[in-house]
Symmetry: C2
Subunit: 436 residues, 2 copies
């Protein structure tokens, strides 16, 4: 059945795979058994059901020339087009041009959590077009959708992804049809609905939405549809590599000693590691040890729990945390994350919801960066790991903020109120007794 | 009294004006009578009470060398440091580094409103650190505050500015104390409060807040305080010039034929005109005619009303519009806006709230850009002016979006809902009858 499903999916593409131009992408390879497949809208190995990822014919020339080419490129992810599954002229096609977000030297935050000055950086992906890192991955999926002749862009989502897909589809001239749980917060529905594609609320939870999408992919109803996080997932995932590329380039083509990355499905963390390895192979950065730390919210910490217990497998959890963009109880890439954290000498840690809120406010109050709850998780975990001596405060650390506080206002609403309410008079202001 | 007030304000600065280093800024000059004053925290002419603006000793060398210097600068407003009232080393100081936001070629929107392909651009300032153009102006005020030895950054605000000041102050190590009306929407209070400075709610409307701030500036309680939009206003306003610089550079050092700019106080529009004139004087762009169009919401359209009536003065209105960031009923720079619109052959136009909502959605659905209500105003006015034949569809037009839709979700909430709610089954999806 599964093989039939995969075959019928591949048949949905109107474009023969031999004519697919996705730049340096040469095929899809199974992360488990290594089997190679031609480029197409498939996501699982026909032999072992392992996840597929993009294989490349990467540039082999002079690293210095490649570095110069990249540096002369546009101020977005397409500066790395030679390393991504996209055609060479991608920058000329209509898309949201995400990426090249700020890497902020966070000396105030460093002082607050005990890191040495000049050593702590925040990679702030709230600066992307729809204000989350999802714009990076959707942009890759969009190019794959174009290459495969799809006309509708789709996804299952609980928030950030819905907006990213709706916006990218609008700009690129695709139809979009996005599936969400019916009880999503009003604000998130509006953020997803404003881009004008179809927004279908499913009576059920996120798992029900996902199951429904998988059914739809195998059905004629779904013909011509690219589900960014299902049948386009191998391409989609590659977008996270650009975080690794940008961080290293922004540090002057140097790999940071330590990275703190949030874990939802775990895909982002594994792809950042893949991106770092590619930079080393290409000679764009010097090979050196680096430690990767994964960050979860205590209320959804299956990978952290497995790491601490010394397990290789991840036991699913029922999520219960304010960090909803990380609330995946059964993370597909969990085992790979465990492997990377252990291999690099990193760790996986979690913080509770109160620590998440405190960390959001700490980042806002030290660096003026208002992060969504996922950013509270990474900053909170960084603080915890410094205190525990697992992060070396004398080495360079990069912490990811993958989204925007405006999307998770509720998390900080209770504790971010007016410090005083007064009549409009100097006497009243004096009497308010603010510590001026 | 007024002169005493100004004198006492100037006395508040701890730094002798002779040692103030604000780069090419040479002094303050009165826009009405031309009188010149030394750099300091003053904002009105001692002779005629006219508004003061920054005067410069601008670079006089080879324009090509200056262009190269700018192009080699950072990807933020500090690439234009030689043209701004900031010290030469400004990029090394802790601030939010706003600017260098996307100029989006909006071919889909162009097709929708009857502009020729390749001729319509959206300057999208939602990409700034706190997601509005206010980061540009606050960054200038912050440098002035540093130069004058102030330790507290303050403002009166109804939303965007409060967040921009709070964030900038946090990053730069200033105290902040921001004043808001007590009945501000909860979301905006949170956005302003999260940065941790004092947030004082005033029992009264925005005018009451402003009056209170003016009182505070003249009182010892306000000593050491830089009010970005009051006693630092001349510096603050210069930040809007960077919109003109960026637009021209992003178009290949060419002035667009037509610009559509929102009007609140009118300061932004007048400073963009000032910026274009400076670029011409410096030889960075060729001198050519351009038309500036001002955009207001019908519910607060004092400048539009004056333009249409052929008046030189602006009769104040009581604002009643969803475009709250533009809702200034008595715009200080109204007469200057009228002058610029008439001198350049432009116009001032307004759209009603329904047209604002339609335009927000049109922009989102054609280009994937989710604008705040002020962006709905400019896009709506652009559409209206094209239809009226006042904007030439064959010439280059740049439309400003100055803020982020996430901050004004209410405006589109009612009309951006799920298109269908279904059970998780293919039959239910089929029965929903979406036009697939």
């Amino acid at each position: 059945m599964r093989r039939k499903g995969l075959a019928s999916m591949a048949a949905q593409t109107a474009v023969p795979t031999s004519t697919v131009d996705l730049g340096p992408a040469s095929g899809l390879s199974c992360r488990e058994c290594g089997e190679v497949f031609p480029l197409g809208p498939i996501f699982a190995c026909e032999l072992c059901f392992g996840p597929l990822e993009v294989a490349y014919d990467l540039p082999t020339g002079d690293p210095e020339a490649l570095r110069k080419q990249i540096e002369a490129g546009p101020a977005n992810i397409w500066r790395y087009a030679p390393l991504l599954p996209v055609p060479a002229d991608v920058a000329e096609k209509p898309n949201l041009n995400p990426g090249w977000t700020k890497l902020i030297q966070a000396d105030n935050l460093a002082a607050a959590i005990g890191v040495e000055p000049g050593k702590l950086f925040v990679k702030d992906d709230s600066g992307n077009p729809t204000h989350s890192f999802k714009d990076r991955v959707v942009a890759q999926a969009l190019e794959a959708a174009r290459a495969f002749g799809f006309t509708t862009l789709s996804c299952s989502s609980t928030g950030n992804l819905a907006g990213a897909v709706g916006a990218a589809a609008a700009r690129a001239g695709f139809r979009s049809c996005v599936f969400i749980p019916h009880d999503l917060e009003q604000g998130k529905v509006v953020m997803a609905g404003v881009y004008g594609g179809d927004l279908v609320a499913i009576e059920g939870n996120y798992d029900d939405v996902n199951r429904f999408c998988s059914e739809l992919i195998g059905d004629p109803l779904g013909e011509g549809w690219g589900f960014v996080n299902v049948n386009l997932r191998p391409y989609y995932g590659e977008g996270s590599k650009t975080l690794a590329y940008e961080i290293c380039e922004q540090l002057g083509w140097v790999i940071p000693d330590q990275l703190v990355i949030p874990i939802a499905s775990g895909s982002q963390l594994t792809k950042i590691d893949k991106g770092l390895q590619e930079l080393i192979k290409l000679g764009l950065v010097e090979d050196k040890p680096y430690k990767i730390f994964g960050a979860q919210a205590e209320g959804c910490s299956p990978v952290s729990a497995a790491f601490k217990a010394g397990h290789d497998v991840v036991r699913p959890q029922k999520p219960n945390t304010i960090a909803k963009s990380l609330a995946i109880g059964n993370p597909a890439d969990g085992p790979y994350v465990l492997d990377i954290a252990r291999r690099t000498g990193g760790a996986v840690e979690d913080v509770d919801d109160e620590q998440v809120v405190d960390a959001i406010k700490l980042l806002a109050q030290t660096e003026g960066v208002f992060a969504e709850t996922a950013g509270g998780v990474t900053v909170g975990v960084t603080k915890k790991l410094v205190e525990a001596g697992l992060i070396d405060p004398s080495l360079t650390t990069v912490v990811l903020n993958t989204g925007d506080g405006l999307k998770t206002l509720d998390a900080v609403a209770e504790t971010s109120q007016a410090t005083a309410t007064i009549r409009p008079s100097l006497d009243a202001f004096r009497d308010a007794g603010l510590a001026l």
